[in-house]
Amino acid sequence: MSLEVTTLFNRRKFNKTNQQKNDINNELTKISDVRDLFNALSLSNDFMNHQGTYNGVGYWVSFYRSLIDAQELHKNVLSVIPSLETINLEQMKDSIPIEDTLITSTKVVIEERIMRGAIAIRLDSNLDECLLINIAASRGRQVDKPELEFGIISPQEAFVEDIDINLNLIRKRLPIPELQVNETTAGTLTKTKVAVLSIEGIVDQKNVDTVIQRINDVDFDEILDGSHLAQMLYDDSNTLFPLFLYTERPDRITSALAEGKVALIVDRSSSVLITPTIFLEYFITMEDYNMPWIPASAFRLLRIFAVAFSIFATPIYVAVLTYHYELIPKDLLETIVTSRNLIPFQPLIEALFLEISIELLREAAARLPTKVGQTLGIVGGIVIGQAAVVAGLTSNILLIIVALSALASFVTPIYKMGNAIRLLRFPFLLGAQVWGLLGISILSVFLMTHLIKLTSMGHPYLEPIYPFRMKDWKDSFVRLPFNLFKSRPVNLRTKNTERQAQTKKSPNKKNDFNE
């Protein structure tokens, strides 16, 4: 107590006049801080303080039991001590076969390192100086197959939760010094490591700065996952659509980086984020690039058609059967009427009943283990569907439409976009019930306006449709041949726009016919 008072007194007295004294005082507070720190840490039962003596010199080894790799501690740290002549931190540092070591007496650094899995070695002679050795245990999954974005003819590697493994997966694909990693942390409690990746010389530096700026502005206690963080970085959080692409495929990240985008790896998150993104990007699979351009384009168009079908099919059924049955030719109308004539409900109730049961099935299947999930599919899909038709609650035709549109909403390669599509159907259903086809087209204008207004990191979301940019159509609804991929996407405003030498000739395809 008296020491503190004198310190305060000293500080005030000499602050202006004696710089040297002031330094000593600072030193004094620092020293008492380090001791306090270890006392405070020892309050937790998994914090270990091991005392030992070697050649008459006492030393302390302190660490969190739960954070370190015990095997490494015994094999590489403690086993080194007997080989030393005298125990001394500098010497110890040199002889321990681990690179990530540091001698310091700064409280903040010591605390941070210990919390990340370092051990601290102190000598009895100077209990304020620590040798910090990082032997953090890395417990986690090994690199596995992608689950959400499975590809048949593309690499079968997916990101895992560990930031270093993920970085390694990307660096292996981009062995260039220009790949830059900016590390920062987010979350006041979780202190989650976030790495911002970009390729220097290609990326628009403004994008990188904005991303880092926004991460630093995040003030929230827990950041548990990438998409958790992403929502706080969105330009507009009142939207159904994902503005950052969330992927578990290293090849997708590589290709995004090469195009001049920014990637964000969040520690303990098994997916990596890409920004800025455009709407159409969410309908692209990496397989599109591994196939010849014609099938690739055809499948991409199929996916986009599926999305439109999935949003509009049921609402159109409701609109037509509620208001505009004149639209259906007589022969077809007969079929529909026969299948519907025992049903006591309006088309909307009928449609909502089926849509909601499919959503229930999907939600239940997502929460259940795979093996039970299969049973659920059979019970839900076949039994309930068939029974609903036999019981006269829904018509066969609607069952087909709803099942098809559910199927169609699964083709989006990015799960979150699938979610958005799945929810979009419901406002359209209500619109169809209120004003028929007119309601659908008014809601479509709403949707279009919303998409036009959206931006991802300040870049328009609906590009290249609006703003219309012909150059970027090569990789949008269709995927044109690679020899047309001459420039990077215009909307990213990359420093280096050239993807391949402009002068490169296509291989000569001369034969007797051309002679």
Partner: protein, 363 residues
């Protein structure tokens, strides 16, 4: 005077002027212009349309000429030509004109919905939804308005091909006899068709929002040309599809034509046509009301949302209390002889005055 104070990042590329002009011109008119035109000019109506198109081109030239001398919008030009008070008076007239234009489009479209689809739904309900949507689009700024105009254009061209189906039942001898009408009749027809080709004058308001606006003139002309050609096409198809007498009796010939379309899975195409037309009409109304509210914003230095609220509430009240078929005729009357006359007389006058002022300053 700065260029009506538009930040560079709110501007749109010059080629969108094509879509802005074209989309503003194509609206309600194209569904119903045939009847009045057939009454006055009959088989020679296409000449009236071409003549009207030519006049539109001349006026686009005049507008760009005005702005080449006075960069800015119509309010800057008015002030430049007539001073603050008289200039503001004319600017208010323009604001009023844009307001009436937007309202006419909305009420005419609601009338079509009433006649063809939902007789029983009150017009206030439709106008309420449209106004909310328009407000939502407006909050995105001019870029969003341009975007929705552009998308609505792109998404609507396929409706033209529906008309080819009508050609299946056409009688090309209906086009004859040609050149039977006097020049006076054709001029009269030109006046009748002006409601279809009107809308290009919105350039007066959005000119400062165009990047390198001087370069956009060719796009404005192209847009007007596109509208003229489409109108001629629709008229010719109507001529060969209907007989003269039928055409004179039909209020919405374009819609009636599409109702004969029949595929194995769909028939009575006009329902789709009318519903889809909402996508065409909404940008139309949005641009008009945007222009009106921006005019008030510029004149009285208020945020744009306040005049937009005021205008929306005004239109809603009109729809609640005085909506009937007659109000459409009143509105059409304001637009057709008076509004058109105002523009036709005022714009050349403005150009002349600005030109003289410029000359005098130089001397």
């Amino acid at each position: 005077m700065n260029q009506a104070g538009v930040n560079e990042k709110y501007k749109v590329s010059p080629f969108y002027v094509f879509f802005l002009v074209h989309s503003m011109q194509t609206g309600i008119g194209v569904l119903s212009f045939q009847r009045v035109l057939a009454k006055s000019t009959g088989t020679d109506g296409w000449m009236s349309i071409l003549l009207a198109g030519l006049i539109v081109h001349i006026f686009i030239w005049i507008i760009y000429k005005i702005f080449s001398i006075v960069p800015g919008d119509i309010i800057t030009a008015n002030n430049q030509a007539f001073g603050k008070w008289i200039g503001n008076f004319f600017s208010l007239l323009f604001v009023f004109y844009f307001l009436i234009l937007g309202m006419t489009v909305m009420i005419s479209y609601i009338n079509i919905i009433h006649v063809w689809m939902f007789e029983e739904v009150g017009s206030w309900a439709f106008s309420l939804v449209f106004l909310i949507l328009i407000y939502y689009i407006n909050t995105g700024g001019f870029r969003t308005i341009t975007g929705i105009t552009f998308l609505s254009n792109i998404l609507t061209y396929w409706l033209l091909f529906v008309l080819f189906y009508a050609l299946k039942y056409s009688e090309f001898t209906n086009l004859l006899p040609m050149f039977t009408h006097s020049l006076l009749d054709i001029m009269k027809g030109t006046r009748e068709t002006s409601l279809t080709l009107i809308g290009f004058e919105l350039i007066l308001m959005f000119y400062p929002f165009i990047k390198d606006a001087e370069t956009s003139q060719k796009y404005a002309h192209a847009g007007a040309l596109m509208t003229t050609l489409i109108t001629v096409f629709v008229y010719v198809v109507s001529l060969v599809f209907y007989s003269q007498k039928q055409l004179v009796l039909n209020i919405w010939p374009t819609l009636t034509m599409t109702s004969i379309v029949e595929f194995p899975f769909i028939q009575r195409f006009e329902y789709i046509d009318i519903s889809w037309w909402a996508i065409v009409i909404i940008p139309n109304m949005t641009i008009s009301l945007w222009a009106a509210s921006r005019g008030i914003k510029r004149l009285f230095n208020v945020q744009q949302k306040y005049p937009l609220w005021g205008i929306s509430i005004f239109i809603l009240l009109i729809n609640i209390f005085v909506f009937d078929i007659d109000s459409i005729y009143v509105l059409n009357k304001i637009i057709n002889p008076y509004g058109v006359l105002f523009i036709v007389v005022y714009l050349p006058l403005l150009l002349v005055i600005i030109y003289i002022k410029k000359m005098r300053n130089r001397l």
